[in-house]
C-alpha cells in the first residue's frame, strides 16, 4: 500500500527541502480555499499546473489521483446549479439551472482541483516518511509525529494480515453479498485484525523495552536549507501575496 507510492524523480521540486514544500503547499491551499474571484482562482490553477509540470508527475498518476476529489465535485454539480435564485441559464424538465449556481459550482471545481494538484505535486515528489520528519522539524507535536510513524510502519504489516484472512474466507467458498452472513464474517475479520494488532502492539512494546525505551522517542532527521529552497520559499510567498492582493482589491 504505502510501499507502492514511490516518490522517485529528480526534478527541482523533488530536490526542494520538504519543509519548504509543506509550508508552500499549506499556504497555497489556505489562500486558494478562502479566495472567490475567478481571476485569482484561474491564476492559482495556472500556478498549480506549472508546479505539477515542473515536478514531472506522470499524466496517468495525476488523473488517477484527481478522481476522488472530482467525484465529490460531480455530486455538487448535480445540485448546485439548481439551488440558487437568479438568472435562468438552462432548464432540465422542471429544474432550472441558474447562472449564479453554475458559477458557484465552477468556482468550487477550480478551487478544489488547484489545491489538489499542488498537493499531488507534494506527495508525488516526497516520500511519506520524509513528510513525517519534516512535520517534526516544523514543530508539529511530537506525539502526533510518532503516532504517524507507527501508523505508517504497521499499515502494511496489518494489511498483509488482512489479505491472508480474506484469502482464507475466499477458499472456503465465501462470496460477499448483502446479507447477515457477509456482515458477520467481515466483522469477524475486522475483530481478528484488531486482536492481532493488539498482540503485535504488545510484542513491539516488549522489543522497545528491551532497547531501553522509557517513553522517549527520537527523530534523527536533519534538513538544511539551500539557496534554491530559500528562493523558492520567497517566490511562493510573493506569489501568494500577489494572489491575496488581487483577491482583496476586489473586496475594496
Amino acid at each position: 500500500m504505502i510501499g507502492n507510492e514511490v516518490a522517485t524523480g529528480d526534478s527541482l521540486i523533488h530536490s526542494l527541502d520538504p519543509r519548504v514544500k509543506i509550508v508552500a503547499v499549506c499556504l497555497f491551499s489556505i489562500v486558494v480555499a478562502v479566495s472567490h474571484r475567478f481571476v485569482v482562482l484561474m491564476s492559482a490553477m495556472g500556478l498549480g499546473l506549472s508546479i505539477i509540470l515542473l515536478a514531472g508527475v506522470p499524466m496517468r498518476q495525476l488523473v488517477r489521483r484527481l478522481i476522488p476529489v472530482n467525484t465529490f465535485i460531480l455530486l455538487l454539480w448535480i445540485f448546485l446549479p439548481f439551488s440558487f435564485e437568479g438568472e435562468p441559464l438552462f432548464s432540465l424538465g422542471p429544474l432550472v439551472g441558474v447562472r449564479e449556481g453554475v458559477l458557484y459550482a465552477a468556482r468550487i471545481s477550480i478551487k478544489s482541483n488547484a489545491i489538489v494538484v499542488v498537493l499531488i505535486a507534494l506527495v508525488a515528489s516526497t516520500s511519506i516518511l520524509t513528510l513525517g520528519h519534516a512535520m517534526h522539524e516544523l514543530k508539529a507535536p511530537k506525539k502526533i509525529v510518532h503516532l504517524f510513524f507507527f501508523t505508517c510502519r504497521y499499515v502494511d504489516v496489518i494489511h498483509r494480515e488482512y489479505v491472508r484472512l480474506a484469502n482464507a474466507v475466499k477458499v472456503r467458498g465465501f462470496r460477499p453479498g448483502t446479507n447477515m452472513h457477509t456482515y458477520k464474517t467481515l466483522a469477524y475479520l475486522v475483530g481478528m485484525l484488531l486482536v492481532r494488532s493488539s498482540d503485535r502492539a504488545q510484542r513491539v512494546n516488549n522489543a522497545m523495552l528491551c532497547r531501553g525505551f522509557r517513553g522517549n522517542l527520537y527523530s534523527l532527521s536533519t534538513f538544511s536549507l539551500k539557496a534554491a529552497d530559500v528562493a523558492s520559499l520567497i517566490l511562493m510567498l510573493a506569489l501568494m501575496l500577489a494572489l491575496g492582493v488581487l483577491e482583496w482589491t476586489k473586496m475594496a
Partner: protein, 210 residues
C-alpha cells in the same frame, strides 16, 4: 464521507480546525508516551479496516467503524483519526489538508460522544445482549452523527448546499444499519476473544501484566 478541498467556507474550515485542535489536544494529553506505539498500531488496523468493501445492495460501502474506534480509544480517537485521515489525504487524496480539521471533527466527535453514551455497555460484566445492543447503537449512531455533521458542515457553508447535505444524510441511513450490525458483531467477537480491548485497557501493560 470526506469533504474535498475548496468546498467549505473559510469560517467552517476555521471552526472545524479549532475544534479538532482542541479534541486532539485532549486526546494527546490522555495518550502517554508509552502508549504511542500501541495507539499507532491500532490506528493502522482501523486504517486497514476502513479499506474493507462491504456490499450494500447494488453498491458497496467502505467501513467507517468510528463507533468501535471510540469504544476502544475514547478521546484518543481524535489523534488516531487525525493521523488516519492525514494519511488518506496524502496517499489517496481523499479529503485534503485544509479540510483535515473539519473531516477529523466529523468522524472523531461522534466517536467520542458514542464512547460516553454507550461505552458502559462494553465494560466487563455486562450481559451479552446488553453489549450487543449498546455496540449496535454505538456503531450506528456514530455513523449517523457523522453523516449529520457532514451535512451540517455543507449547510453552514451556504444554503445552496441544502439538497446535497440532505442527500449526504440520507446516504448515511442504510450505512448506519450496516455499521451498527458490524460493530455489534465485532464487539461480540472481541468480548469472546480479547475482552481487555473493549474494556478501555487497549494498551497492553506488558511488564505489569502478570
Amino acid at each position: 464521507m470526506h469533504i474535498s478541498e475548496g468546498v467549505l467556507s473559510p469560517s467552517v474550515l476555521v471552526a472545524g480546525a479549532a475544534l479538532t485542535t482542541a479534541g486532539v489536544a485532549v486526546g494527546l494529553k490522555r495518550l502517554d508516551h508509552e502508549e504511542i506505539p500501541s495507539a499507532g498500531i491500532l490506528s493502522a488496523a482501523f486504517f486497514v479496516a476502513s479499506l474493507v468493501h462491504v456490499p450494500a445492495g447494488p453498491a458497496s460501502v467502505h467501513l467507517v467503524m468510528n463507533g468501535l474506534l471510540g469504544l476502544i480509544l475514547g478521546w484518543k480517537a481524535f489523534p488516531a483519526i487525525l493521523v488516519g485521515l492525514g494519511l488518506q489525504a496524502l496517499l489517496f487524496q481523499f479529503g485534503g489538508l485544509t479540510t483535515l480539521g473539519v473531516n477529523t471533527l466529523n468522524m472523531a466527535l461522534p466517536a467520542v460522544i458514542c464512547y460516553y453514551l454507550f461505552g458502559w455497555g462494553a465494560k466487563a460484566g455486562t450481559r451479552q445482549h446488553v453489549l450487543t445492543i449498546t455496540a449496535f447503537a454505538c456503531g450506528s449512531c456514530a455513523v449517523l452523527f457523522s453523516g449529520v455533521m457532514v451535512g451540517f458542515s455543507l449547510y453552514l457553508t451556504g444554503e445552496a448546499f441544502l439538497p446535497a447535505a440532505k442527500l449526504v444524510v440520507a446516504a448515511h441511513l442504510p450505512v448506519m444499519f450496516i455499521e451498527g450490525g458490524l460493530t455489534a458483531a465485532c464487539a461480540f467477537f472481541l468480548r469472546r476473544v480479547r475482552p481487555e480491548l473493549l474494556e478501555g485497557q487497549y494498551v497492553p501493560k506488558s511488564a505489569s501484566q502478570f
